[in-house]
Amino acid sequence: MPVLARWIEAAGIPTVTVTMMPAVAEERRAPRIVGVEFPFGHAFGMPHDRAMQRRTLELALRVLAGASEFGTRVDLDIEWPVPVHDAYRAWQPKEPSPIVRKMLESRK
């Protein structure tokens, strides 16, 4: 996804990447980054929590419009309101994805 942001940015359209892995987005050289400590699939926050989603979106807009240089990263200061162990399990698919299944089988 950071690479996709780079290609779109290179075509002249400013981008910001809102991601739960901002360190990876930095390594992949995304132009503007907002880091969120949220489980996968939840870039803007908890379902139906419009206040949390709005804080995330407004930070993304500020970074998009106000970052002065390439590689700007700002992290959102919100703690996920679910215990880590539960949230860690909740985001994962019920069945392992095909690539994970392949990896698990190769270890047997």
């Binding site: 050289r29 699939g41 870039a43 998009l64 994962q92």
Partner: protein, 168 residues
């Protein structure tokens, strides 16, 4: 506060992401200045959660991925800003889709963006936002040569001044 990028990632997946550096050939800075005021700008959002319109669009191709685990559907979908949760399907084998189906705004906040238009924070939104399926072949050849140029054309057609990308 500095986000822990690996807080929710299974430990065995971490080496696939951490310390791998830039994508080959993608280490130079790229920069398009954001020149307008937000209140005069038109914004678009893109999700990689594999969203599609149940009634009128094909789902992302998960059957092929089941038999070719290294491959992910590289196509994209235009999601109308007016679409509601009931209109949206999710095709993504790498995440639990329950929360996304209950409230697609957590990945593609189209209605919230529209609310920001009414509140005068931004000028407007595009008519059609964007969805891809984030699990891709590692070389990203289809995304580079076909999907990305099509997304750029779509954003230009819709006069987007900026794009918010949200990996799933």
């Amino acid at each position: 506060m500095v986000v822990d990028s690996y807080k929710f990632l299974p430990r065995s997946f971490r080496p696939f992401y951490e310390g791998r550096g830039p994508f080959p050939g993608e280490d130079e800075p790229v920069w398009a200045p954001f020149e307008k005021r937000l209140a005069e700008s038109r914004l678009a959002v893109l999700t990689s959660a594999g969203m599609y319109l149940r009634q009128s669009q094909p789902a992302f191709d998960l059957e092929h991925e089941q038999t070719h685990p290294d491959w992910g559907d590289p196509t994209w979908r235009a999601i109308p800003a007016s679409a509601g949760a009931a209109d949206i399907g999710i095709a993504h084998l790498h995440i639990n889709d329950e929360d996304l189906l209950a409230d697609p705004e957590i990945a593609l906040p189209m209605h919230l963006l529209h609310q920001l238009t009414r509140d005068g924070v931004i000028g407007s939104t595009v008519a059609d936002h964007l969805a891809v399926m984030g699990f891709q072949d590692r070389r990203l050849a289809d995304w580079r040569h076909k999907t990305a140029p099509e997304l750029v054309n779509h954003l230009r057609d819709q006069s987007a001044d900026g794009l918010i990308l949200a990996p799933a």
